[in-house]
């Protein structure tokens, strides 16, 4: 343990005042100092810490042995990872925050998209600098023979940035229409799912919302009121349009509410097979009208029963209990008509 500490210490001790170790130490010093400061000063000092760290890493990765260690042979070209490391650090310093650190949401898409172009700029920067006679860096226009390679290098990094942007576009679409995640993407020429997992379409949520809305309306109503409602529901479809708008307003503010307009509700009330009036069947269908793998809208349905229930409540000093009949709504769980869920 002590040996390890000593070796780290000797590695970090600057051999020369102008070396990367100096900047690492400066960075550490800034971080330690920032810990004792008020928030405003902390921000300033910690950004100095980032700056020193970036300079130190920049210096470090361009060291002789390190550069060869970080260079890999791709098929046609050699790829040097140094600029990518520096650019990641720069992006973290600019876009990152300690509060949202760790989860992807904290690091905004612009951060990921800008990593590749910044890496390209870092890698190409040395070509724009030459040392003059008195050893000070000076701006220069790159040599003509280098320019072709530089143009190709920069353009290919821009292409990588475009791919990142496309990934984020896909995520945006999937957040707009979360029900897409229940579909089968195997026909796509653009995307693959890394870990295909069963994902229930949001039709279930839509139907559950519809069920609880109906429950609020029907439960504990007297049976005669319910039968009147059922009779009206056979005549006009007003109840289902009301239900649809209620469900939409209920779910719109939740996750992926953008797709709510693509779910349409339909429903049907039936008497029992013998038309005895003993109970009523209610079928609720939620139909997905958005894009699907099968190019046909798919429907998720839920079966419910409306059952009369006799409630007795005995009043004080009364021998015969008073009976009232109220309705109760019982629903089965959602049955998904689409077959892809079993297949996945």
């Amino acid at each position: 343990m002590k040996d390890l500490f000593n070796s780290i210490r000797s590695y970090l001790t600057p051999k020369d005042p102008a070396s990367w170790q100096t900047f690492i130490l400066l960075s550490l010093f800034s971080v330690v100092m920032a810990a004792f400061m008020s928030p405003t000063a902390q921000n300033i000092v910690s950004s100095f810490g980032w700056f020193f760290l970036i300079v130190a890493v920049w210096w470090f990765v361009y060291g002789k042995d390190i550069q060869t260690a970080l260079t890999f042979n791709a098929i046609f070209i050699k790829v040097f990872l140094g600029p990518w490391i520096i650019s990641t650090l720069i992006v973290l310093a600019v876009f990152g925050s300690w509060s949202g650190f760790g989860d992807l949401v904290g690091v905004a898409p612009p951060a990921f998209i800008s990593v590749a172009p910044i890496a390209a700029i870092i890698a190409l920067a040395p070509k724009f600098i030459k040392s003059s006679k008195d050893k000070t860096p000076e701006f220069t226009i790159p040599a003509v023979k280098d320019r072709q390679g530089m143009v190709l290098f920069f353009l290919s990094h821009l292409l990588i940035a475009c791919w990142f942007q496309f990934y984020f576009l896909l995520q945006g679409w999937l957040n707009l229409y979360p029900s897409l995640m229940a579909e089968d993407f195997s026909r796509s020429s653009f995307v693959v799912r890394v870990q295909p997992s069963i994902q229930v379409s949001r039709g279930r949520e839509v139907l559950n919302a519809a069920e609880s809305d109906l429950r609020d309306r029907l439960n504990n109503q007297s049976w005669s009121a319910i039968e009147r409602w059922l009779f009206e529901s056979k005549v006009s479809n007003q109840w289902i349009t009301d239900l649809e708008s209620n469900v939409q307003s209920r779910l719109r503010n939740k996750l992926g509410g953008g797709e709510m307009d693509l779910w349409s509700l339909s429903g049907k009330v039936d008497a029992d097979p013998y038309d005895s009036g003993a109970y009523y069947n209610l079928v609720l269908n939620a139909t997905w009208k958005g894009p699907t793998a099968t190019q046909a809208p798919h429907t998720v349905s839920k079966r419910c029963e409306l059952i009369p229930k006799r409630m007795f409540n005995r009043r004080t000093k009364s021998t015969i209990p008073e009976a009232t009949v109220i309705g109760t709504l019982n629903c089965a769980d959602v049955k998904d008509a689409a077959s892809f869920i079993k297949k996945v």
């Binding site: 353009l155 821009l158 292409l159 896909l170 945006g172 957040n175 020429s189 693959v192 894009p291």
Partner: protein
């Protein structure tokens, strides 16, 4: 781009694979055509072709992202369907978009070569010197014809190169759509 709340494991890996395939195909084909028609030499025509193809790909992506953010909801749903579930019937709009892409990439490639030569401080078009070298012992008419023939016509070369690479990519896409149609819909 809509706001993103949670991230999924849906990656555009196939898009990247197809893009790389088409890019390498287009670069190889166009380099061959440019070499044939402009006498640039193999290396130079390869470099030119790689540069303009990368440039047009990047510009194409940027145009796509720009247009996507302006799409009305119905058109975006159609786009989402094509991206996630493949394309089975090709609507006329797609042909129009393809043709527009052909014209735009042609203009962009022509301009791209111009910019590239500006950056490289090059002037490959043999203009003044050749024209001032009159061939001896030939009729005047023949002279004019010859010089017109020898002058490489760059716009035509780029147009042919672009046409060849578009045809090759279209053939691959047609095969892809046909194979897709053979698989029954689940």
């Amino acid at each position: 781009m809509p706001p993103i709340i949670n991230y999924t494991d849906v990656l555009p890996l196939r898009a990247i694979a197809f893009q790389l395939l088409f890019l390498f195909m287009a670069i190889a084909i166009e380099a061959a055509v440019l070499n044939e028609r402009l006498n640039l030499g193999r290396k130079l025509s390869m470099q030119y072709s790689a540069t303009v193809n990368l440039l047009s790909t990047v510009v194409g992506w940027i145009v796509f992202f720009g247009v996507e953010s302006w799409l009305p909801s119905a058109a975006r749903q159609l786009l989402v369907e094509y991206v996630f579930f493949g394309i089975r019937s090709v609507p006329p709009t797609v042909y129009l978009i393809g043709f527009a892409a052909f014209l735009l990439t042609f203009a962009l490639k022509l301009q791209g070569i111009e910019f590239l030569e500006l950056i490289l401080e090059k002037n490959t078009l043999p203009t003044v010197e050749e024209a001032n070298h009159p061939r001896k012992f030939q009729g005047r008419k023949k002279q004019i014809e010859l010089s017109a023939e020898n002058q490489p016509n760059r716009p035509m070369a780029v147009l042919w190169a672009n046409a060849f690479s578009f045809v090759a990519i279209t053939v691959i896409l047609i095969i892809r759509v046909m194979v897709d149609q053979m698989i029954p819909i689940a």
